[in-house]
Amino acid sequence: MSTPLEHDYIGLTESSSMERSSDKISSSSSSSSTHPIEDKPSKTAKDTCLNLKETELRLGLPGSQSPERKVSLFGKDLESNNDKSNGLSVSPLKNLVSGAKRGFSDAIDGSNGKWVFPMNGKSDVELAKGAALPSPRGGLDSKSNPQQARVSVPAMKEVGGIPQSPKPVQDKKNPVPPSNDHATAPAAKAQVVGWPPIRSFRKNTMASNLAKNSEDAAGCLYVKVSMDGAPYLRKVDLKTYKNYMELSSALEKMFSCFTIGQCSSNGLPVRDGLSESRLMDLLHGSEYVLTYEDKDGDWMLVGDVPWEMFTDSCKRLRIMKGSEAIGLAPRAMEKCKSQN
């Protein structure tokens, strides 16, 4: 039986992955989007090495904690390691209000009272707060505006565009509920009424679209999960998870009773590149690998493709012993076919 700590299917606890905004893992339900974690091109194509890291799918985010335990699944250390040096500092970001995420938010009467537009309950009444906005309101002196604009710009820049850091993979789930808490936002970048200029119908539709997609009203997707050595299989509904992280946590919970306490080391060195690190860890004798059978009947390593693509093509899951998974593709396939 695994101890609450270090339950590790693969045995990797990586300090590597410079994931971003790792705080977002929690599963705030409706706000997540359909955007799978996928290989997104670098915005500036400057740092390919960083890119590779970005393509590592977040099966366990640094900084993300498997509930109640420190877990490392599929090669990712779930402990936060360095903040990855992307000009994008995490904290200011996460404290930003996303009040109107669902197209509705409260009108706040903040310090800058003039910005309040009580619009009888129409959606998107938000407040522009403070100096963050280059607005002439700050003073009647028009000269101050460029100042204001300037001042607020760096903060905004971080948010709006991250030049140096290819920040592609997003976890769109935002655990910060639409709130009016600006207290901790250094950049005080609050919402502005009617900005960006999007019609209400679109705003409301996209909000519910994203919510719907993540919940997938269209149905459920139960797949069998087998684990080598376990006496019986389980079934999971893939639609109840939004990303690999959730899936791996759930699986780990489900199968924790079956593991033969070979919790592996946490001290494996950092590797770049997705499959490389996995493979290396396997070679080092780590425990299990999660694989799945796709629509074509091939056995694939979980985590390569965007989450949506995975759920679309996954027919069954298999938690494979690491030792069997070496040489991965051909060997695994044979083995599975014989077991099927």
């Binding site: 955007h35 820049k157 935002n174």
Partner: protein, 609 residues
């Protein structure tokens, strides 16, 4: 024919109306200066009948307006033959004046609120209620056939009134309107026996359920255009299926997301003649057989050139569309959350595409695919999937924009929401696509500079106006100084509509635009440091424009009063905030020309000065 009547016609108000009813264009000034007399412009050598015939063939309202300015005879001929009237600002004229001038109208297009009302900047009860118009129309145009409203308020009672007052009523189009519920739609469905078009788009509807659709009587077969994507509640599918089945002339069908894929397949099986299709939800779990059926039904729809909807799209099912995609000229994916690879795969099959709307979830890579696969593209709109979440940093950037420009030299309309942009990127884009007529760039963070150089985005828009000589519409964003507006004033000689937000350094910017853009008709400004000096520099200009909007700028009540005093033919409206004083800042100012005088239906929060 009616030539004797025309000659008898003696309307002493004609010369006033002649001058002032210019809907567009600065010929207004010329007309004022050269009085028209009966004698000097005697009947031309054409017989009247020929002239009337020729004039009656004119459709463009601008052409007709020009014709009406030539001489009294032509004015009269034009007014008697006009069947469609376009009113860009419902308060610029009154329904009585319209009815007096144009006795034979069958089709009306009316626009109401200022455009920024779409973004909640205009109070709810501001006005633009269509009812007064309907009452006049019922009396003067009992044979009215078409009504198209944009940003108007229309109540259920008005819809009922409409449905019962016009026996020939054929086409209703509501875009970005409010004030009504599905009950109003039910009234239309029930009573309009000759309805050919019901087009409900992007309105603020009080959705009370889908029962309205079942109100079309079983004997009703004339519908050709049905767009109810905006009305989201579940409809009775059987009723819809029967309706489509018996309306053999249906060519445009855009359903809402309650219609599933399987249901869509059944509808299409009975309507292979459709030319425009808006699907419902595109994500049902289909059996292989159902998927085949879907594919084959699309295969039979050879005429579809416009496709939209695709709510909750499942990338996996997009291939079912391939038979249709080869003929597509307009693909609206703006509600379909697609990733770059999914879009890329689809676009390979869309070589004829001229208009494409997408979400920024497709990212730059998706836009590269656009550039590679759609050489005929003329219009691109990229909407943000999650515009209010600042933590999102994906989306599209200058890279995607540039990629499209390389592949699509015919691009002339763009609406682009992004989180970062560069001057160089925009310069490259317009170099590749010099024919832009509509350039709307929205960098979503207000006041954001070029993210690479940290400079203002002045040069970007400078490049746009210098290169794109045909530019009619421009929306600017990002960190901009007065230089941008100098460029606009100096180069944008065909510019008609300009939208500005969070930009400029001083009054000088706005002054440049007002002085420099001869064809400017609509100017909307928010959150800019333009004050009274700027406002008043356009005194003479505003009469040649449809409207001016300024909000959260530095204009004061006194400045507005001065404007109102100097220009009596302008309506200067100020939307007051609660608690603001009478002499202070005028927070929202809306100025428009009108021959109807000040409006009488303004709420208390709106002051007409």
């Amino acid at each position: 024919m009616e030539s004797s009547k025309l000659k008898r016609e003696k309307d002493s108000q004609i010369s006033d109306e002649l001058n002032e009813l210019r809907m567009e264009s600065s010929e207004l000034k010329k007309a004022k200066d050269s009085p028209i007399s009966d004698e000097s412009y005697r009947r031309s050598s054409f017989p009247d009948e020929v002239l009337e015939r020729v004039i009656s063939l004119l459709n463009s309202h601008r052409d007709r307006s020009s014709v009406s300015l030539v001489c009294k005879d032509w004015y009269n001929m034009e007014r008697w033959s006009r069947t469609h009237v376009f009113i860009g600002n419902c308060y610029s004229v009154s329904p009585e004046i319209v009815a007096r001038r144009f006795p034979k109208i069958r089709s009306v297009t009316l626009k109401g609120k200022p455009r920024f009302s779409d973004f909640n900047l205009v109070p709810q009860n501001w006005g633009a209620d269509v009812h007064a118009w309907l009452v006049v129309f019922a009396a003067k145009y009992p044979f009215l056939e078409e009504l198209r409203l944009k940003r108007m308020t229309i109540s259920d009672a008005s819809l009922e009134f409409l449905a019962s007052s016009f026996p020939n009523f054929k086409a209703l189009s509501l875009l970005s309107c409010d004030g009504f519920s599905t009950n109003g739609l039910a009234a239309i469905a029930t009573h309009c026996k000759n309805l050919t078009e019901l087009d409900i788009q992007e309105n603020d509807i009080d959705d009370k359920g889908g029962g309205w659709l079942s109100c079309f009587p079983e004997s009703f077969t004339s519908l050709e255009v049905l767009n109810f994507a905006n009305v989201t509640s579940d409809i009775n599918f059987d009723a819809l299926e029967r309706l489509i089945g018996r309306c053999k002339s249906m060519r445009v069908l855009k359903v809402n997301r309650s219609v599933s894929l399987e249901q869509l397949q059944r509808l299409l099986a009975n309507a292979p003649q459709l030319t425009e299709l808006g699907t419902g939800s595109f994500s049902q779990e289909l059996t292989p057989r159902q998927y085949e059926d879907l594919e084959s039904v699309f295969n039979n729809c050879k005429n579809i050139h416009t496709l939209s909807g695709l709510w909750e799209v499942k990338g996996l099912y997009l291939p079912a569309l391939y038979p249709v995609s080869t003929h597509l000229t307009f693909l609206n994916l703006s509600y379909a959350v697609l990733q770059s690879d999914e879009l890329a795969k689809l676009l390979v099959h869309c070589p004829q595409l001229k208009r494409l709307w997408v979400l920024d979830t497709v990212e730059d890579k998706g836009l590269e695919a656009v550039g590679s696969n759609c050489p005929l593209l003329e219009e691109l709109r990229v909407f943000p999937a999650d515009p209010f979440d600042e933590e999102i940093v994906y989306g599209v950037t200058e890279a995607g924009f540039v990629a499209v420009s390389y592949g699509c030299p015919r691009l002339h309309y763009v609406l682009y929401f992004c989180r970062q942009m560069t001057n160089a990127g925009v310069a490259t884009v317009v170099r590749n696509c010099p024919d832009f007529t509509h350039f709307r760039l929205c960098i979503m963070t207000p006041g954001q500079p070029d993210y690479l150089t940290n400079e203002p985005m002045d040069e970007a828009f400078g490049a746009v106006v210098k290169t794109c000589r045909k530019l009619q519409r421009l929306s600017v964003s990002g960190y901009l100084t007065d230089l941008t507006f100098e460029y606009i004033g100096r180069y944008a000689k065909n510019l008609e509509t300009l939208s500005v937000a969070f930009a400029g350094s001083s009054d000088w910017g706005m002054q440049c635009v007002l002085a420099g853009c001869p064809k400017l008709r609509k100017l909307e400004i928010r959150d800019c440091p333009f004050g009274n000096a700027a406002l008043l520099s356009g005194l003479e200009k505003y009469e040649s424009m449809r409207s001016l909007w300024m909000s959260a700028c530095n204009v004061t009540m006194n400045g507005c009063r001065l404007l109102a005093r100097e220009m009596p033919r302008l309506n200067v409206e100020v939307m007051k905030e609660e608690g603001s004083d009478d002499d202070g800042r005028a927070d929202k100012v809306y100025v428009y020309r009108s021959i109807a005088g000040r409006r009488r239906d303004a709420p208390s929060s709106v002051l007409t000065l």
